[in-house]
Symmetry: C2
């Protein structure tokens, strides 16, 4: 009864899923507090107090019609307020609500953009290391994914990117701050990338979209400012989620905003239609209402920066080869011996769970998610330090 594609995919299983299952067995065997799980990007941090305050207000609210269908694109007043923030922060300096559709998180946003723009056989460039679901999203709309590697320090490799662009290239997915590397692409490298794409569009007489997946946009350290490539590239989409900035990944709320310079009067209709056809219909009404109350609220970034600092210093001084993450709640060190699968096995013998880079198209490194409690982090660090010293 299951289709060939899905049957094959679930039989193969994802590496992260296998990790998850093994971790469950270890926890059953040794007790949950004796297994140090750094695999999942699922924050233990609770939402900020303002979230619960807004929920109280919502419970008191008797605005007639709040829980009805609204236009598929979402509530006007929510999209107006988001547009204002995007203009003020120069993420999309000219954006209005007519360029914004509310979605059920960033994954939903990526799906409707790809559904709206891909013809069968169109190529979508994905930068490695990558979030593995991108590949499935692209094939889900009969697109073809093309992998372009980043530099060894995870900065943009424009030569590699240039070599992957063909007349069939329809889009490029970019994710900054990056999961899994923690890299934030510099403004100058993003400007050079935009120039490259403009050149290729001209050369091939095509249009290439940049899809900027920005769920970690607010999780950026050391007082850096976010720079979105969408601000300088006409055919661009910003895909956002409040999962990380409000620590509510289970609640599923985000948006897609596109650059009005794209100058396509049907794009909002197309995205709206795709949201409808995908079965989502509209972003959950109560989540739209809630995040509208919280547009200037975020979890405390220092919470993650402090953890980032401790982990980075600890691993670096122990001898790991790693870059200092500039954002996200991940670090992505090189595995001793350059074999992340073997390293993962060794770590597991110490009841430490990490994700080998095979899951991100980068098999020499492994990912640590540090959106967990300090006890887990500290015990895991002890083991990881011992492992690199014995390697």
């Amino acid at each position: 009864m299951i289709s060939h594609y899905i049957q094959e995919a679930i039989s193969r299983g994802s590496i992260i899923r296998v990790m998850f299952e093994r971790g469950r067995k270890l926890k059953a065997q040794y007790g949950a507090d004796q297994v140090f799980d750094l695999t999942l990007g699922n924050p233990v941090l609770e939402p900020p107090p303002e979230y619960f305050q807004a929920l109280h207000e919502l419970a008191e609210l008797r605005d007639k019609g709040l829980h009805r269908y609204m236009p598929n694109v979402g509530f006007d007043f929510v999209r107006d307020n988001i547009a204002q923030r995007l203009r003020e922060r120069k993420i999309l300096p000219e954006v209005t609500r007519e360029n914004i559709i509310m979605t059920a998180g960033a994954a939903c946003g990526l799906n409707i953009v790809l559904k709206a723009i891909l013809n069968p056989g169109d190529e979508v460039i994905i930068l490695a290391p990558y979030f593995v679901e991108y590949l499935h999203y692209v094939t889900g709309y009969q697109g073809v994914f093309v992998i372009a590697n980043s530099n060894p320090d995870f900065s943009l490799n424009l030569d590699e990117l240039a070599s992957k662009i063909t007349p069939k290239t329809r889009a490029l997915i970019i994710n900054s701050p990056n999961n899994p590397s923690g890299r934030v692409y510099s403004q100058s490298s993003l400007e050079a990338m935009a120039d490259l794409l403009y050149l290729k569009q001209k050369q091939y007489h095509t249009r290439i979209a940049i899809i900027s997946d920005e769920p970690y946009r607010e999780l950026i350290f050391d007082g850096q400012k976010v720079f979105s490539v969408a601000s300088i590239y006409e055919n661009s989409f910003v895909v956002y989620s409040w999962s990380k900035s409000l620590s509510i990944p289970g609640d599923r709320i985000g948006y897609v905003a596109f650059n009005p310079a794209m100058n396509n009067p049907r794009m909002l209709d197309a995205l709206s239609f795709c949201l409808r056809l995908s079965g989502m219909v509209n972003a959950p009404a109560i989540m739209q209402w809630l995040v509208n109350k919280l547009l200037d609220v975020s979890i405390d970034i220092n919470y993650y920066q402090t953890k980032r600092d401790r982990i980075y210093q600890s691993l670096k001084s122990a001898g790991y080869d790693l870059i200092k993450p500039e954002g996200t709640f991940y670090v992505f060190p090189r595995a001793p011996g350059d074999d992340a699968l073997a390293f993962m096995q060794k770590a597991m013998q110490l009841n430490i769970l990490v994700v080998p880079g095979q899951g991100f198209g980068w098999p020499t490194h492994f990912r640590i998610a540090y959106c967990t409690d300090d006890y887990t982090i500290d015990r895991a660090l002890e083991g990881l330090v011992a492992l690199v010293r014995s390697a």
Copy 2:
């Protein structure tokens, strides 16, 4: 930048959408209270008081982890409680949470079932009159839709259905109570349909799924009891939404339950994987928590039954040819002259908006949605009565 398929679809536009736009213009011209809009299945009824009570409890709740990612299939405790209700009501007498996945409403549920089971070119039978989005859902997963007409009284036409089943038939979508006709299929006709499908499966050595789309299951009148074909057919899926029974269509929450007799140990994994890939990831955590508190709550069915009675009697005695709806909040009368498009135009001259049956693959009839206020209904009825008398 928009794909050919989506560009074509949004340019063509849906009839309902065109109605919506014309209605907006009429309202701008004459004032909203002088336009009688019966087009949208978007209840003006507010959610029941228990919904707001549950929202209050939720705002007070500080259960750690409630807003995190949970397993893609949804919370165990919610799925357990739903399974218990489905067993008690004999909708799926043997079901457990291992056969249930929480979704963002029924549209989302239909999408993940189709994504999970369709190979390219597989045929899906859809019974006319139908909810038009079904066609797009099927083509979205490279399936091919095949229309089978119902009887003139909108009961199941098994001869027609039998003639449409081929070796490529992978699924049948059934919707009872039916949008747009209001028909509830009888238990005996559903039993005969199940027998037919068992026979065809044997004849062709195939498996044919029944996908039972049941968002109107609780909106059933005259004390009838619901009978779900899923209870007597092994390869069956029940797709549910709380949009109608709690009057919260904007909030997007529902589930898919499949018959454990399907005996496919990977089906839950497949649905879960499809929910993940579709970008939904998991049904909104807070909506799962809320509906779990409201499993035995419903809006007052009499609210709709009273409207049904008045509309049916009024149209019938005026001379319309129509069946008495047994459920939903729609009636589907025959248009005078058998031309629903022409009738719609005439109605619009009286500022009455109805949906011509072209939007449901049934061009001789038109749909009235009576999930609206009595003033609108009464004023529309005056006009509709006048129209049939002048025809």
